[in-house]
């Protein structure tokens, strides 16, 4: 009897999963993506996005099984009845003028804004508890968020996900500009990822490279999205984004060539096995400045073109799930090289040698039409020896004028006439080509004033010093070393005796 029951149970278990005749579709999925954008200023921006979509109604049932969606955040959503949560921690500022428009910018410091469900009775209480819990999860001082730095915006910050109604009393927004973001904030952020810095794109997330940047922004966004095209049911979407901008001079040592290894000190070896999509996009719309073209190595298998942020852009796509791109034997290290067209210019520079030869700089440049070209040279003023000054040094020193020799295109083609026949003013420069004429121009000489020492000073100094020495030192010397002795008046001296005689005759006391 028991054996029969046991066999029956075993059969049931065997039939259970296989009996439906189809595989159970996964309830959550992960997509990861890295976009590398070379910026006009020579820097490079890298934006990571990890998106976990979970087809579940967190509100309706007590969920206890978490697979890809992190349990810490799932419990947060159900406990505080959140509809949306956006938290970002940023260091630096996105310089739109040099770098272009960002995908998603965040304010410097910590920013937290959340939409609560309409079932919440005390929104302020839930908001306070939420910020405390998040400060524990992300190791940030978000517990300083209270009524003094929280607002309820009325016009902006509409929900980014699906929304039934937009009663702004369920929205709260706070910013902590003093918040620092460092490895202790990156560590829990990485732990929320399903593959957690072990495989896929997250192996590139090394703190010592990510914080050596001009801009570092990491964010967590949770919102409800449409599950399918008809949008009849809701899925939860968790997006973790990280944007960094590597500086060309600090990290790149001035060179504009980038590679994954140079940026992150790692290369990609395998995709995350839990990800359904794992791609790297490289922006290959070249900027047209200086006619440089961007070359990407290894050459991409596919490209993607679309209108992004208002302009048409082309991206090279590397799919990590494709065995041709990355496999066990081959790691992916994407390299970006800027290719200059061959220059047909010429520069000759001969630096000066003190007291032997001057600077010489010769440049051959092609001036674009309807433009202004400025050539500037920085120089330093060196100190002269006092014998090298002219008698009138306050006048200044002259720098010789520059010479501009140009071949200017003619408006009207000239015909090369006979040298001897043409008037003298037309035969100053030989004409070789009828389409342009040669001209040599000079700039003004430059008068540079050098700081001039006061040449009368040595005489003044000598006089002053001697006076000081004579008066002060001499007096002290005398005071310290002069001794006074009582001297007996001398008896002798012919002149004195004679004088005494005369004095005695007069009746005056003697000397």
């Amino acid at each position: 009897m028991a054996a029969a029951v046991r066999i029956f149970l075993l059969l049931l278990l065997l039939l259970g999963p296989g009996g439906w005749g189809q595989a159970e579709p996964p309830r959550d999925s992960l997509r990861e993506e890295l976009v590398i954008t070379p910026l006009p200023s020579g820097d490079v921006a890298a934006t990571f996005q990890f998106r976990t979509r979970w087809d579940s109604e967190l509100q309706r049932e007590g969920v206890s099984h978490y697979r890809l969606f992190p349990k810490a955040l799932g419990q947060l959503i159900s406990k505080y009845s959140l509809r949306e949560l956006h938290l970002s921690l940023t260091q630096g500022f996105w310089r739109t003028r040099y770098w272009g428009t960002p995908f998603l910018q965040a304010p410097s410091g910590a920013e937290l804004w959340a939409w609560f469900q309409e079932t919440v009775t005390d929104v302020d209480e839930s908001w306070k508890e939420l910020s405390n819990v998040l400060s524990g999860i992300f190791c940030a001082s978000l517990n300083f968020i209270d009524s003094t730095n929280t607002v309820t915006p009325t016009a902006s910050f509409k929900p980014l996900g699906l929304a039934n109604g937009t009663d702004h009393s369920f929205l709260r927004y706070a910013v902590l500009p003093r918040e620092v973001v460092c490895t202790e904030n990156l560590t829990p952020w990485k732990k929320l990822l399903p593959c957690s810095s072990k495989a896929g794109l997250s192996v590139l997330l090394k703190a010592d490279r990510l914080f050596h940047t001009s801009y570092h922004s990491q964010a967590v966004h949770i919102r409800p999205v449409c599950r399918n095209a008809r949008c009849t049911s809701v899925s939860w979407e968790l997006r973790q984004t990280l944007s960094v901008v590597f500086d060309a001079f600090v990290t790149g040592q001035g060179k504009k060539d980038w590679s994954l290894f140079r940026m992150f000190s790692r290369t990609l070896t395998e995709p995350c096995p839990l990800a359904s999509e794992s791609r790297v996009y490289v922006d290959i719309t070249s900027y047209g400045q200086d006619n440089e073209t961007l070359e990407v190595y290894p050459p991409p298998l596919t490209t993607y073109q679309d209108v992004i942020l208002g302009t048409r852009k082309t991206y090279a796509v590397y799919d990590l799930l494709d065995a041709a791109v990355v496999s066990n034997s081959r790691s992916l290290n994407i390299q970006l090289k800027w290719k200059r067209p061959p220059e047909n210019g010429y520069i000759h520079y001969q630096p000066a040698q003190d007291r032997m030869q001057p600077h010489l700089l010769e440049m051959l440049i092609q001036l674009p039409a309807n433009s202004i070209t400025k050539v500037s040279i920085q120089f330093e003023r060196a100190l002269l020896k006092w014998t090298e000054y002219t008698p009138d040094p306050n006048h200044g020193f002259y720098v010789s004028p520059s010479v501009l020799s140009a071949l200017v295109p003619s408006v009207v083609a000239a015909k090369p006439g006979d040298w001897e026949e043409s008037p003298l003013f037309n035969s100053l420069f030989p004409v070789s080509d009828s389409s342009s004429y040669f001209v040599r121009l000079y700039t003004e000489p430059l008068l540079v004033s050098l700081p001039t020492p006061d040449f009368s000073m040595p005489y003044n100094v000598v006089c002053l010093t001697c006076t000081v020495v004579a008066v002060c030192y001499g007096s002290f010397y005398n005071l310290l070393t002069r001794t006074f002795q009582i001297e007996e008046p001398r008896k002798g001296g012919l002149v004195k005796r004679l004088a005494n005689l005369i004095r005695r005759a007069r009746g005056v006391p003697p000397l």
């Binding site: 405390n132 940030a140 300083f144 009325t154 699906l162 009393s169 009849t232």
Partner: protein
Amino acid sequence: MVDTCFLSQGLTTLAGLLLLPFGSLAASQIEDQAEQFFRSGHTNNWAVLVCTSRFWFNYRHVANTLSVYRSVKRLGIPDSHIVLMLADDMACNPRNPKPATVYSHKNMELNVYGDDVEVDYRSYEVTVENFLRVLTGRIPSSTPRSKRLLSDDRSNILIYMTGHGGNGFLKFQDSEEITNIELADAFEQMWQKRRYNELLFIIDTCQGASMYERFYSPNIMALASSQVGEDSLSHQPDPAVGVHLMDRYTFYVLEFLEEINPASQTNMNDLFQVCPKSLCVSTPGHRTDLFQRDPKNVLITDFFGSVRKVEITTETLSLQPDSGVMESSYKKDQMVEELMEPLKYAEQLPVAQIIHQKPKLKDWHPPGGFILGLWALIIMVFFKTYGIKHMKFIF
């Protein structure tokens, strides 16, 4: 008679012979039990590591704390059992030439900041109040778990503090102090609430020995880097970073701890000898009178490590995936899906709607005490002046 005598004598000798091995067995058992008594009776380990100094030139205090954090994590205490408090951010400080690193040895040999550090209290949160609340457990209910010291009466706690101090006090962030009396009282509260089994207190500041003078709770062992009247000195500057990297006492303690592994049997007496006056310039001190066990029986890993007793079993346990539950709920979702109408995303900037929205009326609150009192005064003065007979015209 003689036979019985002989028999009894034989029996007694036999009994005596038999008793002898039993006796020796009993004696060794008693010895084992006695030794067991002197082994620590703790079941879990906690660590509270505090750096109290702010500003870039106090880099060495953060490096001190992080090197103890690193040793304690390496020897087995997990992040959930460590409360790390750093009063300033040195790793991502704009002045740090190598961001996301804190070095303890010059020439950048050892990065104690690491790749998976979790700081629980940072920057302005490191205050005397928060520190005492962590120790005594009197924490507001909204504090997350990682910021609490959830120790019990079988916990061994390591408390490490570093910063600038004086005779009887320790400075927190250059704006407030904690005195040795407050600290002793906090430990007494912990003892009364049974929050520790044994406590090791290490302090690396100037005149550090003054901080443990006032302890009066049992089972506390304390170490300090310098005596009263002496300064604790820093170890070595690094020309690339530009500041002193570590303090001498903690530098030598770190070197000592780097040689400890979770199985080592080194005891506290070795830790007391760590930094003699020739290396440290100050005289490190220690206090063991409140501690019940002999320091030579106390292992370093009793406080710095989290050694667990593991029993290996050969029983197997098989887990069945509960696919049944997931299946039914998914089916339920699919059915409900058909009934709902399509949802849509909100418009991000609906200009017309924004312009025409009415501003939300603020909730009306009854007037407060001051306004009520003012009106009462005005009405009283009015009636005193004009007389009560006017009341009927008003009401």
